[in-house]
């Protein structure tokens, strides 16, 4: 934590006197270690709530362990998957002598291709904004990197404006905007009793926020709740945004994972586009292309015209340049190869559907299993919720029991990654959940 200035001066004074005596010794003895440590003031950081789960899971030797922590897809054997379309793309680009990004025209072309294809994916291949080029698009370090670029950009040009997140949201969102020095607010979203959307409260918060506020929206497969607005609700939200001149920023991490259909999953975005909003969009290819480790995504900001798009892009590039200069090329090449070849793209679309279907099936199976166990609780939300995650409604204590007693790992907010559920572990999981909830006092309150 930052010390206040006054304390800082005192600290420096104190350290200065300690240092002078020890440094006189140091300059004569080359081997003596300084007893004073520069980093003494550094306390250990808390583990990241999501990656910390994976770390704990990896350290566990129990044969029944299940990882329902991180949102990374697994097949029915619980194994990570490299999509066939990705393998095909790898084969194509193997031996390509690209080594420079930003300096070589072909690498720049790859980046532009990625941006173009990403925009088509989000906005629709025939969308006007794509045709007119009235948007600033930049490759980014997956979803996180795209969000961070936007947060920094928002701060640079609207330094007083906070960002509004749905409550709850992905745990890293507040970190990203805070580190970009943007104040963080929330708007009501999840309804714990119904385990669905608190639409009335959501609309109130949108109305009550100051005009022209920045809002972050999950267009589909909300993380962590899996609760999405309906199409009609999206239309109302869009209309209210217009009334209030709010800025909609979409975090698109799961396109394809909600319904299995890429266009359907982008409906919220398309509604906002039709209504004339100039939105921002962070896209990730981590989940839907299984390119987690490659850090490939796209940030786009819609502009009034192509000229403004050039200016906005130049500013975004400048922000990126001071953070990491250029994005890693390997993932870029893979995505651009997949999306620009019709055959490979068609294969990808199929594979996304397969992944989404498996998750939907696991949702049904888990719910059925719990119902067969005569659980006193209502588990409809398992199949009502959408995408990778199920907001189970489990309390932190119940989660702790799952971890300790059953070696089932999930985040303490009760979020389960359904991607980690398989036909071989679903019964074990159902039994475990039943065990920790069967005497749940809340049983009578469930609607």
């Amino acid at each position: 934590m930052k010390p206040k200035p006054r304390i800082n001066i005192i600290m420096w004074g104190f350290m200065g006197s300690r240092l002078t005596s020890s440094t006189r010794c140091m300059s004569t003895s080359t081997k003596a270690l300084s007893r004073f440590g520069w980093w003494d003031r550094v306390s250990p950081a808390a583990k990241d709530p999501i990656t910390g789960v994976t770390e704990a899971f990896l350290a566990d030797t129990n044969p029944h362990k299940i990882n329902l922590g991180v949102g990374a897809y697994r097949d029915d054997e619980g194994k990570p998957v490299v999509l066939q379309c990705v393998r095909n793309a790898e084969a194509k680009i193997a031996g390509c002598d690209f080594i420079n990004v930003g300096r070589e025209s072909n690498a720049t072309a790859v980046g532009s291709k990625l941006v173009e294809e990403s925009a088509k994916l989000a906005y629709g291949k025939d969308a006007n904004v794509v045709k007119e080029g009235a948007f600033a698009g930049l490759q980014a370090l997956s979803g996180t990197g795209a969000c961070r670029l936007f947060a920094e950009f928002q701060r640079r040009f609207h330094p007083e404006s906070p960002i509004y997140f749905p409550d709850p949201t992905w745990s890293n969102h507040p970190n990203i905007w805070r580190d970009a020095q943007v104040p963080v607010r929330t708007f009501q979203y999840y309804h714990p009793v119904s385990k669905g959307l608190n639409f009335a409260a959501l609309m109130d918060d949108i109305k009550n926020a100051p005009d022209a506020s920045f809002f972050l929206l999950h267009p589909c497969a909300h993380n962590p709740t899996g609760v999405d607005p309906t199409v009609e609700q999206w239309r109302e939200i869009s209309y209210q945004f217009k009334e209030k001149s709010h800025f909609p920023f979409f975090d698109v991490a799961y396109q394809g994972f909600a319904s299995g259909d890429l266009d359907m999953d982008a409906q919220a975005i398309r509604i906002f586009l039709e209504d004339g909003h100039l939105i921002g969009c962070a896209q990730s290819f981590a989940k839907n292309m299984g390119l987690y480790g490659h850090r490939v995504g796209c940030l786009s900001v819609l502009c009034a015209d192509a000229k403004q798009a050039v200016a906005v892009k130049s500013q975004l590039q400048q922000i990126a340049r001071a953070m990491y200069s250029n994005p890693p090329i390997h993932g870029l090449l893979l995505v651009s190869t997949i999306l620009s070849d019709p055959e490979t793209k068609a294969l990808w679309v199929k594979e996304v559907k397969v992944m989404a279907n498996r998750i939907q099936q696991m949702r049904s199976t888990l719910r059925e299993s719990l119902e067969k166990l005569a659980s006193p609780l209502n588990w409809e939300h398992i199949t009502n919720q959408v995408g990778m995650f199920c907001f189970s409604g489990l309390t932190a204590d119940q989660v702790d029991r799952l971890v300790r007693e059953f070696h089932i790992y999930l985040t303490r907010d009760g979020r389960m990654s359904m991607a980690g559920v398989t036909t071989s572990n679903v019964s074990y999981l159902a039994n475990a959940i039943h065990e920790v909830t069967r005497y749940n006092r809340e049983a009578s309150n469930v609607c």
């Binding site: 080359t30 980093w39 990656t51 300096r103 979803g143 961070r148 209309y239 004339g276």
Partner: protein
């Protein structure tokens, strides 16, 4: 088109929207007054505030929140390559790019990299997220490469190593750490230094000032100025040092000078912060080029070191590097590492996998490692040869008696020619030689075949242009 579509969507909107969207927005978009505080924004160098008043006259449906965004200045280094591409002259030469080229002036993918990539494809590894701190095998390999595997700092686990996005990303993590734990502390950077250093510290909100480095009179190191400026800085400043092959000048301190620099840094309780982007590229020896860092570590000093594998493994586009923080204890190193992770997570969550695996495979396999060393010597050797040929050409052609030996004394990819902006412009406009305006040429982009032509250009620009 726009207003039509909004009119159409209005048809399905709730009955409360009885006014046209146009009317609605005219009422709501009170730019320049009321709830929107554009007028009240402090002077912001990025915003063109003049455009706002123009907007309030027009109730456009599509008004961007970013109307006031001005065009960012072009990057001075990348702009050179763009100009080069646009030039149709056959004699053109690109000495702007800080990227290694073969004698045929082609990009070079190292053989060990190809072998490592083939191994990776054969193994068919997955693409799962790396942990926030990066690939463990890479982190181990990179720290050992820098300090030496038997170095006490390694054996005592006193180094916090986190994989970063090449040099830039690693520097940025370090800058963020400094900002958080040493608010107000300054970073001292050499004058001149790599152009992006200032951007990184500015964006990380770390104040910086310059120490004298380049002496135009000698086309060498202003050592006294450097020492004086480091001494004059407030105690507890961070001193950014180029481990070897200084960019842009190519001028490195001698071992004796490094000792004196370490002395004054210790005297002033400053903390050394090394940027090691060219390990192996200076002398051709990976160990020799790590000499300055190891000298400081051997004194028991705590230090920061950012590494890049862009040049020495030719992995420019893969963005692979690391930030290392040497601490007094293993416990401190563990805590620092945890905080570096906390800074990385909201920046990009976890680093990219591909480059890390290549490095880990090359460094971790003795055969590949030896092959790499040989390729490294070859690349550094080509640059040394080119320096020699350029020097020979200059001395043979230039009758003025000017001392061109700085070309041989300077080391690494770059050479500071001593040409001023007008002279550099002449190089480009008359001779189609592309370089940066500070007089820097990249010898990595020069072939033996072009040395004589370049010598002519330099002599002409130096003597006939002021």
């Amino acid at each position: 088109m726009t207003s039509t579509s909004t009119m159409l969507s209005l048809a399905s909107a709730p009955p409360t929207a009885s006014l046209s969207v146009h009317e609605n927005l005219k009422g709501r978009l009170k730019l320049g007054g009321g709830s929107l505080s554009f007028n009240k924004e402090r002077a912001n160098p990025f915003i063109n505030t003049k455009s706002f008043s123009r907007i309030s006259m027009v109730a456009a449906v599509k008004v961007s929140r970013f109307e006031g965004v001005t065009m960012a200045p072009p990057d001075p280094i990348l702009g050179v390559s763009e100009a080069f591409k646009a030039d149709n002259d056959k004699k053109k030469l690109n000495l702007g790019v800080g990227a290694y080229r073969t004698e045929e002036l082609q990009p070079y993918v190292l053989n060990v990299v190809k072998k490592a990539e083939n191994l990776m494809v054969e193994r068919g590894e997955n693409k799962e997220y790396l942990p926030i701190e990066g690939l463990a095998a890479f982190n181990k390999a990179t720290a050992e490469l820098l300090f030496g595997a038997s170095n006490p700092v390694i054996k005592e686990q006193r180094v916090a190593t986190v994989q970063g996005l090449s040099g830039t990303g690693s520097l940025r993590l370090a800058a963020a750490l400094i900002e958080r734990y040493f608010p107000g502390a300054k970073v001292l950077i050499s004058s001149p230094t790599w152009g992006n250093h200032k951007n990184i510290f500015n964006d990380a909100r770390v104040p910086w000032s310059e120490y004298r480095y380049y002496d135009p009179k000698t086309v060498g190191l202003d050592f006294d100025g450097m020492i004086a400026d480091i001494k004059a800085a407030p105690e507890g400043s961070f001193v950014l040092l180029h481990g070897c092959a200084h960019n842009p000048t190519g001028i490195d301190p001698t071992p004796e000078q490094w000792e004196k620099i370490a002395d004054v840094i210790q005297e002033k309780n400053h903390i050394p912060f090394f940027d090691v982007a060219y390990q192996g590229f200076a002398s051709g020896s990976l160990d020799a080029d790590a000499g300055s860092v190891r000298l400081f570590a051997a004194r028991g000093m705590e230090l920061l070191v950012a590494q890049s594998y862009s040049k020495n493994l030719g992995l420019y586009a893969e963005r692979i590097g690391a930030i290392n923080v040497v601490c007094t204890s293993a416990d401190a190193a563990a805590r620092v590492k945890s905080q570096l992770k906390r800074l990385a997570r909201p920046m990009y969550s976890n680093p990219p996998i591909h480059g890390a695996k290549i490095v880990a495979n090359v460094v971790g396999d003795p055969t590949l490692f030896n092959e790499w060393k040989a390729e490294m010597e070859m690349m550094a050797g080509r640059i040394k040869n080119v320096r020699q040929k350029l020097y020979d050409s200059l001395t043979a052609k230039d009758k003025s008696g000017k001392d061109w030996s700085f070309i041989l004394k300077q080391i690494g990819m770059f050479s500071f020619t001593g040409l001023n902006k007008a002279q550099s412009d002449n190089m480009t406009n008359k001779w189609h030689v592309y370089m940066t305006k500070d007089g820097r040429i990249s010898l990595a982009g020069l072939s033996l075949a072009k040395c004589e032509y370049l010598a002519d250009a330099i002599i002409d620009s130096f003597h006939n242009v002021s």
